[in-house]
């Protein structure tokens, strides 16, 4: 019997097709050069700009695997970015000034991550312990989170001047931009957590059949708490990167609508929103696909309003291709051909 295609096959196919299209028709797409000890070019750009979405999508993959969703990640990005900016810039009247971090970037990043962790635990508490539906529970922080960020920043855009912190967003290491290294490290870390331990199986069991998982002795409550916490930390790292990149924290706009990009990336990558099976490889491909669509549209000079439509069109095509209706039809035809 032939093995089924992996769930992320269609995301890979779409990504490869898009790359081939660009290599053939977009002048200078394949061009990569080394400047100031770092690679430049459209391909590097795709990976660099996909990093924040990828980070959100990694946490989102685990959350969706348990059958939940985390709508608050965009707002958590804003909180984490604001925390970092406030700790570095120290604006007057900021409630965070009591925290003695100095200008130490690891300490600042640590507090930003802690903020994300607390947000994630709050979501996890509402979903796992209070048993509020995930979409409602995380909607709370999606709305309130930006308010929290604005309270911290007194409604101002906080700019800062810290070359060390800026390095997180726009620096480079061994020829590649720092965000690429960071996002891939997080991906690797979470993949090891999920697949080299039984954590991934427990996440999938929880999302597949909560009662059966509980009866089998799995602490699904704890699992849910952890995945929302991981999602919060991932969002904080993404928020740190975005703030560091523009050397400012904008509580209103940082990470706006990015939770939707993250959910799309997970979905396009072949993870069903109903929970159960998840694929981190699919999420990586999904995030890259989403960003390469955007980059392709921009480099080809398509108007931004059309860009959004084209992006959704590609998402729809991939989702339709991996839908169970189309999949079973394909399987049927393959069988019919095999039998003939």
């Amino acid at each position: 019997m032939k093995r089924d295609l992996p769930s992320w096959a269609w995301a890979l196919a779409a990504f490869v097709l898009l790359l081939l299209f660009n290599l053939a028709f977009t002048p200078g797409f394949a061009h990569v050069e080394i400047r100031d000890g770092r690679l430049f070019g459209s391909l590097v750009d795709v990976a660099n700009r996909a990093a924040p979405t990828l980070l959100l999508a990694i946490g989102m993959t685990l959350v969706i695997g348990t059958g939940g969703v985390d709508l608050s990640v965009g707002a958590v990005m804003a909180i984490a970015g604001t925390v970092a900016a406030c700790l570095v810039a120290r604006p007057t009247n900021c409630p965070l000034n009591a925290i003695p971090t100095g200008k130490s970037v690891p300490a600042v990043a640590g507090f930003a991550g802690l903020a994300g962790l607390l947000c994630g635990l709050f979501n996890g508490f509402l979903v796992a312990v209070v048993e509020i539906q995930p979409i409602v529970a995380t909607l709370l922080l999606m709305v309130a989170g930006r308010g929290v960020a604005q309270l911290l920043s007194s409604g101002q855009i906080i700019t800062f001047d810290s070359p060390q912190l800026a390095f997180v967003g726009s620096g480079s290491l061994l020829y590649l931009p720092t965000p690429v290294w960071i996002s891939l490290s997080v991906l690797l870390l979470v993949a090891v957590l999920a697949r080299r331990t039984a954590f991934g199986l427990f996440v999938e069991a929880t999302g597949s059949n909560l009662v059966a998982a509980r009866f089998a002795g799995i602490d699904s409550r704890g699992i849910k708490l952890i995945v929302y916490a991981v999602s919060g930390v991932c969002a904080a790292i993404a928020g740190l990167i975005v703030a560091a990149d523009i050397k400012a924290a904008d509580a209103n706009n940082a990470g706006l609508y990015m939770e939707l990009d993250a959910i799309l990336a997970v979905s396009v990558g072949g993870t069903a929103l109903t929970g159960g099976r998840f694929s981190l490889v699919g999420t990586l491909l999904g995030a890259l696909l989403m960003q390469s669509v955007t980059t392709t549209i921009l480099t080809r000079g398509v108007a931004p309003e059309i860009a959004l439509i084209v992006k959704s069109a590609i998402v729809v095509v991939v989702c339709v291709l991996q839908s169970s209706v189309v999949q079973s039809e394909i399987a049927r035809r393959r069988m019919a051909r095999g039998a003939a």
Binding site: M1, R3, R196, T197, A198, F199, L201, F202, E204, A205, S208, N209, V211, A212, A213, R214, F215, A216, G217, I218, D219, A272, G276, R277, A331, M335, G338
Partner: protein, 497 residues
């Protein structure tokens, strides 16, 4: 009598496995036709084709002699074919009346005419002999009542053909009786009824003809008089059958230490005063009618529900506030009666479904490596004869009986000291039933203790060393040794001396 529904050379394959091969089947108006076969013989697939859930790859379906296309469940209903499936399918958040009339609600200018709907539902309920307010939320009804409601819904469609797929597996004796009366009446009215069951007694009691499927092929069709029980079993198994009522007496355990004991365990609104003691290597049966508190007792011991009175002791140590997780780590397993809602992880593979409990016991950090998973999985595929023998197939693609075997494998792999088996043989074929009972005896000899819950008294009698009889949510009798017999259990349930 004329054929009201028949098939000509129906074939169907899934992913290259041929599950039905050129099936000819004929149902006459005014007959109850039993469709028999082991797990994976193709019964469910044939029924799903007749009811439009699947489409046949080739062959024809004839309704009153005319070829018809049944492309969807709605088509089937339009052709007067209604189904009540093995796993109860009702919409839990709606009322009984809404469940009966759904998609055919009486409508007026202001939407649904609720009064009329409830009256119609009441009539349908009356027809199945249920005295129930149509406005009751269906989730508050027992599984048995939900099943009867599902039949009422089928009748309300004014079906000409009724397919009953394992309708009695969740019913107690009285309810079965009521269902049979109903089937008899519907037969007289000229309905054709296809009846799928694993209970042989019920086949001989109700049906006029029997069709046996074996490995996707029709073994034959007989009238019930001409096909004796032994012959029927042989046809189903495709070999000389072994004696059904496992003659072997239960294995007597060596005197061992007490694994679990409860004193006056109870929960408000659930069960009262459950006191029992199970020693190493002992099989204790819980007998009683549906709703007598069997499953509820198991839930208290496994920590699914919190007890409000009494105490629970494991290995001599009192247990406070048990949870499934803590009980599992203390060496208890619980194989639920509801495999769809509380057992299988549908998207996950057979392999993952098997190792789940063992992995949960080891904790998430100490992952069972893939090679060991395969070894464990293959061992159980072999010893429980799981079909198809493919570890990587999603469990949802297996037949119900094979899913049940996978769930048993899950708990055996976790190697508990005490395994609670709640209806472990429900919906599985005779061959597998015998295998499972044999397996219990084998593991018992190795020291595993069992709490065995089954509606089939013959099974309980053949494995249990001790039987606790429950009536109205309390223990009313304890039978040991020579006292254990079907007659004695029935007497205790009935409450007559």
């Amino acid at each position: 009598m004329s054929a009201c529904l028949s098939t000509e050379r129906i074939s169907k394959s899934f992913l290259g496995n041929r599950v039905l091969d050129a099936i000819d089947f004929e149902l006459r108006a005014g007959e109850i036709h039993a469709l028999m076969g082991e797990n994976g013989a193709g019964k469910s697939t044939l029924i799903k084709i007749l009811t439009g859930v699947y489409q046949a790859d080739s062959g024809a379906i004839l309704r009153d002699g005319k070829p018809v296309v049944i492309g969807s469940p709605a088509d089937a209903v339009a052709h007067g074919i209604s189904t009540v499936y093995q796993e109860v399918n009702v919409l839990p958040n709606l009322t009984v009346g809404e469940n009966i009339c759904i998609r055919r609600e009486p409508r007026g200018p202001f939407g649904i005419r609720w009064k009329q709907l409830n009256e119609r539902a009441a009539t349908a309920l009356d027809r199945v002999g249920l005295n129930l307010d149509p406005q009751t939320p269906i989730r508050s009804c027992s599984i048995a009542v939900q099943q009867m409601v599902a039949i009422a819904r089928a009748l309300d469609i004014s079906a000409k053909i009724l397919v009953l797929d394992e309708p009695t597996s969740s019913l107690d004796e009285k309810e079965v009786r009521r269902l049979f009366d109903l089937m008899e009446r519907l037969k007289e009215e000229g309905l054709g009824i296809i009846f799928v069951t694993h209970f042989l007694d019920q086949v001989y009691e109700t049906s006029g003809r029997i069709t046996v499927l074996r490995n996707g092929v029709r073994a034959g069709t007989w009238t019930t008089q001409e096909l004796g029980r032994e012959a029927l079993i042989n046809q189903m198994l495709g070999r000389e059958g072994q004696s059904l009522a496992s003659e072997a007496k239960p294995v007597t355990p060596k005197a061992g230490r007490t694994v679990v004991s409860t004193h006056g365990l109870g929960r408000k609104g659930s069960v009262n005063n459950i006191s029992l003691e199970i020693t190493k290597g002992e099989v204790v049966g819980l007998a009683g009618l549906l709703g007598s508190g069997r499953t509820e007792s198991a839930h208290l011991i496994y920590g699914i529900d919190a007890a409000t009175t009494g105490s629970l002791t494991l290995d001599g140590k009192p247990v406070d506030r048990p949870t499934p997780k803590s009980q599992m780590r203390r060496g208890i397993g619980y194989c639920s009666e509801d495999r769809k809602a509380e057992g299988i992880l549908p998207e996950l593979s057979v392999r993952e479904n098997i190792i789940l409990a063992l992995q949960a016991k080891r904790g998430w950090l100490r992952r069972i490596d893939t090679a060991t998973q395969t070894k464990i999985g293959e061992q159980y595929i072999k010893s429980l004869n799981i079909r198809p023998p493919d570890l990587d197939r999603p469990i949802s693609l297996l037949s119900g009986g094979n899913q049940q075997k996978v769930l048993l494998a899950r708990w055996l792999a976790a190697d508990p000291e005490l395994l609670i088996l709640d209806e472990p043989t429900r919906g599985i074929d005779i061959g597998a039933k015998v295998e499972i009972l044999e397996m219990i005896k084998r593991l018992q000899a190795e020291g595993m203790a069992f709490l065995f819950i089954s509606s089939e008294l013959a099974e309980t009698v053949s494995v249990a060393n001790r039987v606790l009889v429950l009536r109205d949510r309390s223990v009313v009798a304890e039978l040991t040794g020579e006292q254990i017999s079907e007659a004695e259990i029935v007497r205790s349930i009935a409450g007559s001396e």
